[in-house]
Symmetry: C2
Amino acid sequence: MNIKIAIADDHQLFLKSLSLLISSFQGLTIVAEAVNGKELLEKIAHLPMPPDLVLLDVNMPVMDGPKATAALQKAYPGIKLVALSMKDNDATIISMLKAGCCAYLLKDIHPADLEKAIREINETGYYHNDASNVNYRRLILQSEQSETITEREKEFLSLACSDLTYKAIAQKMNVSERTVDGYREILFHKLNVQSRTGMVLEALRRQLVSL
Amino acid sequence: MNIKIAIADDHQLFLKSLSLLISSFQGLTIVAEAVNGKELLEKIAHLPMPPDLVLLDVNMPVMDGPKATAALQKAYPGIKLVALSMKDNDATIISMLKAGCCAYLLKDIHPADLEKAIREINETGYYHNDASNVNYRRLILQSEQSETITEREKEFLSLACSDLTYKAIAQKMNVSERTVDGYREILFHKLNVQSRTGMVLEALRRQLVSL
DNA sequence: GAGCATACCGGGAAAAACCCCGGTATAAGC
DNA sequence: GCTTATACCGGGGTTTTTCCCGGTATGCTC
């Protein structure tokens, strides 16, 4: 019985290449390819049978990794979800694991290890790369005590990562200057910084925004 | 006559996948794979014949894209060098083109386009993706007139990428506040920004500082 | 020694950022 | 009905940043 696999990655070249690579492994079949979460959900919906396992990139346009993970988890609880990312920073890993991924693989994994990981996840439901295993508990703990950032705050954060003044940001967000002042205050506290520059840098480090 | 291709990319999974994909194209052969520039140079040196074309990732450890490009350009002037990156920001593209690349491809290129691009570059020595073509001249112009940044300015820039006030930076650099004000002024002009936040972001984009 | 680049410095003023005080309205959950 | 959370707002203040004016000293090149 072949293991049915779906892949989502916004880089077409990587998507097609990886698809070819996985197809070359005995007993692994690619049943869907997508360049974002939305397309993935649509393609899976049109399949006669859902895949056994989904490889998901974290950073995608339209519907990113965590959102796609959550949607898939809800629609097809049986599918094993595997995050596949270049980034090994804590925040990214946490967001995917919290959303319901059962494993987190890095893109610099060796093809042979990927094959091994896919088979292991398909059978047991989880995979432990020796190195990452150790840190999982710490990550979960950290995520529980870490502050949450609301949508509106994220919006402010994106706008703050620019040459715009708070006044201009207030106009763009259609709120008073006092209100963005409030966002600033609360984010300074949540990110543990004391200047806009520090806030921008911390937001970049936590990948709440990108360059 | 097969086109001999070498690839360098620090993500093993991508490297092997892409290698497989390219090998599947008629008349294209992979003669070397490497996870960084240094390894690539070593592997090429051991080949009976150098490759016709090299696909180079921009961001790699040990020896990055621009450095590898320059080294290859010097050692094997006949090889066509092609940058392959996820980033489409000006600074990255400029650094690769200046180092001697004849084309810059993005990783979200479609496999069929990649094949077309490889064949075209191998024959003509260049490739013009319609979209990017338009901007090349602007980029070259921009790079030629781009300002140089002195050591002291770089030092200031690093310190400015923090929660420190200019006053604190002045103390750390052992100069008066007025002096750091001067650095700020000149860097605002050189980076074409009008706030400290903008300066920090631009410095990160140009990789003058890192997170 | 003239011209130029680099590094450095003083003072003043306007704008932006930062930091408090206070408040309302709405929706979700017990 | 009460708490909790989110989104929003007004007015006051200080500090920092930003943007001007001006200047000196050193070293390098032609």
